[in-house]
Each structure stands twice: as structure tokens, then as C-alpha cells.
């Protein structure tokens, strides 16, 4: 039985391998990974001849690999660096990701205005009582310098200023949420979906009196979000069949049906929601 099963699998694999001339490789952001994987599964059902392999590695890995031709599509939370842009890679904004401030539940603050939020992270304000909360030291939990989330935070919350030197740094959003949940006085900045998953452990903080929500971003009231990007490298896409598959796949992700049905459910927003195009974060 087992041998027969193995043989069948092997034969099926070989047939699949010879039949599927086009394999599209996707690498990069682990945050965007699940949604792109879902898109790949749906697309492969519609187009049986196409194989799409999605792997992680991080945004910068995706950008490095697509620049060097190591993969066909590089997915990233951040825009490419100017040096990478010079190689002629092409950007597609595939989803919109809202970000929110979060804090340890006991800090006694529900909302920060733009100036307060900036001062909390630059270190001008060091105690929650200075922004209307408890007498409790502020503990800033942020992501490492190379993180896309940190880049968004620096631009949108700190308006380009440097972070305070007194910070705790955690490697992943999951670790950030855990640190905020277990450290009294902690404050941080994460994707909205991570707040929604951890409502019981951490508290969301409104920005300028507006709570982060999909509706808020859509109506333009809530200003803090970033794009999820897919980059391709036209110079390295020499095989016309692979090129066709790549173009078809990206077009599929951007179809209204996929954006409405899947992107929304997965905690992102359709690109069409954001009319004012922010080109560079």
C-alpha cells in the first residue's frame, strides 16, 4: 500500500513538474505572506498550469532577491531603497495596512493627540501623568531600526525626528505585543490586526481622538497606514511565459473581487480605499 502510494505521488509529482512550465517564485515580508499565499492558492486553482511558490525571509530579503533576480516577485512592507530603485524594479501597491498605537491596559490614557504622541516617543514626555494618565513611567517598545513598521512610525508619529534613547526593542510584532502586555507603562505601535487579535491583553490608543479602524482609514479620518508592496524586476523577467504568469497573478490580486473578499477579511484594506496616494513613506 505504502509503496504504491509513494509511487503514485512520485509519478504525479513528475507529471506536474513537466506540465507546469511556469513556476513563479515569491519571497519577502512575513506580514504579507499569508495574504499572498491565499492569492496564490486561488490563482493556481483558476490557472492549473501555473505554480506559485511563496516563501518568507522578510521585506528586505524580498527586495534584495527581486533586485538580483533570485525571485520573480518580492513582497515588502516598505518601499525599495533608492539604490534598489535604480535597478529598474517596478512597484505594485497590493494592500493597505492601518497602524495603531497600543499601550499596557493600566496607563489610564485612551487617546493622544499628534503632539503628545510625538513627544511620548521622542522622550520629551517621560511619565503618563504628563499626558493625562497615571503616575507611571512611560516604557517605549519599538521595532529594530531596519523594520518597516518603525519606518512608518518614524515618519507618521515622530514626523521624522529620532526616537528617544530610552527604548525597549523587540524583533517581531508578536514579541512587541507580549512585551506591552507584560510591562506596566508600555506603549507601542503595531498593525491594526495585531490589536484586534490581542484586545484582551493590550489597549488601543486613539490618535487625535480617532480610533484606528477600517472605516476611519476609508473615510480619511484616520491618517496612519502604509502600503504592502509587490515588486517585480522587468529586466530579469526574460521568459515570456513566466512574465505572463507574474502579470496575471498581480492583476488577480488587484481584482475588486479578491480585494473585497479576501483582503478585507485578512485585516488589510483594499488599495482602492485610499484615494490620496502617498507615494513614499
Amino acid at each position: 500500500m505504502k509503496i504504491r502510494f509513494l509511487a503514485q505521488t512520485l509519478v504525479a509529482g513528475l507529471i506536474a513538474l513537466s506540465a507546469s512550465a511556469q513556476t513563479v517564485t515569491v519571497m519577502g515580508s512575513t506580514a504579507l505572506g499569508p495574504i499572498v499565499k491565499k492569492a496564490a492558492d486561488d490563482y493556481m486553482k483558476l490557472h492549473p498550469g501555473v505554480q506559485i511558490a511563496v516563501s518568507g525571509g522578510g521585506s528586505m530579503t524580498g527586495l534584495n532577491q527581486v533586485t538580483s533576480g533570485g525571485c520573480n516577485i518580492g513582497i515588502s512592507d516598505v518601499f525599495a531603497t533608492p539604490e534598489q530603485d535604480k535597478t529598474g524594479i517596478k512597484n505594485f501597491n497590493i494592500v493597505v495596512q492601518p497602524f495603531t498605537l497600543i499601550a499596557h491596559p493600566g496607563v489610564g490614557v485612551k487617546s493622544l493627540n499628534a503632539q503628545q504622541a510625538e513627544q511620548v516617543f521622542t522622550g520629551k514626555v517621560t511619565n503618563w501623568k504628563e499626558v493625562g494618565g497615571k503616575d507611571q513611567k512611560i516604557v517605549r517598545v519599538i521595532r529594530p531600526e531596519s523594520s518597516g513598521t518603525r519606518a512608518v512610525q518614524k515618519k507618521e508619529i515622530l514626523h521624522g525626528q529620532e526616537f528617544s534613547k530610552d527604548v525597549l526593542i523587540q524583533d517581531s510584532t508578536g514579541a512587541v505585543v507580549t512585551a506591552v502586555a507584560t510591562t506596566p507603562g508600555a506603549v507601542s505601535f503595531v498593525e491594526l490586526e495585531h490589536l484586534e487579535k490581542n484586545k484582551a491583553r493590550v489597549a488601543g490608543i486613539a490618535y487625535n481622538g480617532v480610533e484606528c479602524s477600517n472605516e476611519g482609514v476609508k473615510s480619511g479620518k484616520y491618517p496612519i497606514f502604509s502600503f504592502g508592496h509587490a515588486y517585480t524586476n522587468p529586466a530579469k523577467l526574460t521568459d515570456p511565459k513566466v512574465k505572463q504568469a507574474v502579470d496575471g497573478f498581480l492583476a488577480f490580486i488587484l481584482t475588486p473581487a479578491f480585494q473585497q473578499d479576501v483582503v478585507l477579511k485578512a485585516g488589510y484594506l483594499p488599495v482602492a480605499y485610499v484615494k490620496s496616494l502617498k507615494t513614499q513613506l
Binding site: 539604490e83 531600526e145 525597549l168 526593542i169
Partner: protein, 343 residues
């Protein structure tokens, strides 16, 4: 001498005795004459040679890659797409802010040395005394039990230690000793690291004490020393070279550990500047509970997320190279101690 895997690490000198074992069991002549076995001998010889060459090539290749990318930070090599840095601004500066073009790695080097030093300070006495206990004092059933427990401890993935520290130890210490200030820093990291390296030190220390000639123990007791005097004045000094080896191997494991430390240390590259600014705690507490960073924690966080060929990426590889050289020095040191060992 027992046959635990560590024992081969302890004493390269022991390997020299192998030819003697060869002489004990000479192969029967008719076996050697067989054509099939001669061929098999020759082929297996080739396979062994190929395997060892492959291993050497792999390690050499990785080292070459590390060195090429690391040195690209300072030299205009092909792997460098940004500006070349001077040695002084990398190795003599405490200012790490890659986005603003500052690449001082002293905070990481200092952090690595501090946290591993502290960890060893905690783990070495504990490990060595446990070794004495297992080898010389424990009843035999406890001895085998303790050995197995130590072997099991070595196998726990480091991320488990990290999560334990992050979710249990940190909040506990912060809440009970620090008035809710965050407890991240050298103290907790060193504590967790020491728990991770104690089993290594215990295994090697136990081997060291069991390897001592019984005459030392019996002789000193015959001369009227107490149990404690025999251990303190005779056994520990006699085992010293191998205990040093045990400590250095523990140190090697600690300095290379990334995951567990990364989760609890706070990863703040500006810790030196921050310690100067802080005045709200006593200097001692400040040194132990300031969020800090080490070579490994910075590497694990930033290396995959920086653009290839940028000075930032190259400096990270240079840090990797530095870490490799540090580990190399430690390995050479164990060799040295092993050679000085009294037979």
C-alpha cells in the same frame, strides 16, 4: 572515563592514545587478503576523505563569505555599494544609528562581553560545585539521574528559555523589585544564559573529577583531611585545567547565543549613552537593568532586513566576523588548557 559525547571535546590529548587501541585488535591476515575487502577498504577510504574535504570546504566557504562581506565595510570591494568606513568609526565609537550614518559597534561588543562574563560568574561556581557533587558525593542512583537531567537540559531549545524569561521572569522582577520599571537588561539575560550553560559546565566538570586518579582523594583523606579540605585543596586544583576548559566551552556557548538573550535584554543599541543620561537609579541597578544589546541580538534582528551591499549590511557582517574571531580565540584557549593538562 565515560563515553558521553562531551568527553571527546574535553581532551584532544586523549586522541593520541588511539594507535594503542589499534594494536590491541589486529585484523586476521586472511581477512586482509580478500580482494573484496581490499576494494571496500579503498573505497571507504575515499568516501571518508570526500566527506572530510566537504566539511572543510563548507566551513572554509562560510568563513570566506563572512570575511569578504565583513571586510567590504572597510575596503572598496565588489560587495560594497555604499561608502567605505574607517576602522576607528566602527570599532571605537559607541554611536550606532545606521539610518543617520553612524556605525559604532562598541555597544554590542561591550554588551556581549558583559552579559557572557556575568553569566559565567553565575554559572561557573554552580556548575563546578554540582560537578563535585555528582562525581564525588552523590549516591550512585542520584549520579545517573543527575547526568540524565543535565543531558536533557542541554536539549531545550533556547527560544523556550527566552519566552520563559519574557513572560514570567521579567514581569516578576519588574513588579517585585523595580517598582514596575522594565527589568530588561544584563541581569536577567545573564541569569537565563547561565541556566543555559550550567549543564555544559556540569557535564564537563563531572568528567574532570571522575577522571582524577582515586589516589588523590584517598591519599588526602588518609593524611587526615576532611571531605571539604580534600575537595577544596586537592581535587579542584588537580582538575583545574579541565575545569577551565569547561568554563571556556560554556563561555563559547553563551557568547554565540542569540534567541534567548534577544527576547529579554531589551536590544537597545544606545545603552551606553542611556546609562550616562539616567540618574534615577543607583549606578549598580542602572548597570544591571538598562536595556542593552549584544553582537548576536543585533545580528539576528537586523541582518535579514538590511539591503545587501549597504554599509549597514557590511558592518553587520563585520560584527559576525568579530564574533567568529572571539569564538575562535575561545576554542584555541580550550586547546591550550587541554595541552597543559596533567596526565
Amino acid at each position: 572515563m565515560n563515553d558521553s559525547p562531551e568527553s571527546s571535546l574535553v581532551a584532544p590529548a586523549l586522541l593520541l592514545e588511539l594507535p594503542a587501541a589499534d594494536r590491541l585488535a589486529p585484523a586476521p591476515p586472511e581477512f586482509r587478503q580478500s580482494r573484496f575487502h581490499r576494494l571496500a577498504d579503498r573505497w571507504s577510504h575515499l568516501v571518508f576523505l570526500a566527506c572530510s574535504l566537504l566539511v572543510v570546504a563548507l566551513i572554509g566557504g562560510i568563513l570566506f563569505f563572512l570575511a569578504a562581506r565583513g571586510l567590504a565595510a572597510f575596503l572598496p570591494l565588489t560587495g560594497n555599494t555604499g561608502r567605505t568606513l574607517s576602522f576607528a568609526e566602527v570599532f571605537l565609537s559607541t554611536d550606532w544609528a545606521p539610518s543617520s550614518d553612524h556605525f559604532g559597534i562598541l555597544p554590542f561588543l561591550g554588551g556581549s562581553l558583559a552579559v557572557t562574563g556575568l553569566a559565567l560568574l553565575l554559572a561557573a561556581p554552580t556548575g563546578i560545585l554540582t560537578g563535585v557533587f555528582i562525581a564525588k558525593l552523590a549516591p550512585s542512583w542520584m549520579r545517573s539521574l543527575m547526568r540524565q537531567v543535565m543531558d536533557l537540559l542541554v536539549g531545550i531549545p533556547s527560544v523556550v528559555y527566552g519566552i520563559f524569561g519574557l513572560t514570567i521572569i521579567l514581569p516578576l522582577v519588574s513588579h517585585s523589585f523595580l517598582k514596575d520599571a522594565p527589568a530588561s537588561g544584563f541581569a536577567i539575560s545573564a541569569m537565563i544564559l547561565s541556566v543555559m550553560i550550567v549543564p555544559t559546565i556540569v557535564s564537563l566538570a563531572t568528567d574532570a573529577f571522575e577522571g582524577l586518579p582515586l589516589s588523590l582523594d584517598e591519599g588526602s583523606q588518609a593524611l587526615g583531611s576532611s571531605r571539604w579540605q580534600a575537595i577544596w585543596h586537592v581535587l579542584i586544583p588537580a582538575a583545574r585545567p579541565r575545569l577551565l576548559t569547561a568554563c571556556v566551552l560554556g563561555l563559547g556557548r553563551a557568547i554565540g547565543e542569540a534567541m534567548a538573550v534577544q527576547m529579554v535584554i531589551g536590544n537597545n543599541p544606545q545603552w551606553i549613552a542611556l546609562m550616562r543620561e539616567f540618574t534615577d537609579r543607583a549606578p549598580f541597578l542602572r548597570a544591571l537593568f538598562t536595556p542593552a544589546a549584544t553582537l548576536t541580538t543585533e545580528l539576528v534582528q537586523e541582518l535579514p532586513n538590511t539591503p545587501t551591499g549597504s554599509p549597514w549590511n557590511n558592518v553587520l557582517f563585520a560584527m559576525g566576523l568579530l564574533l567568529y574571531l572571539l569564538t575562535m580565540v575561545l576554542i584555541l584557549a580550550t586547546r591550550r588548557f587541554g595541552r597543559n593538562e596533567v596526565a
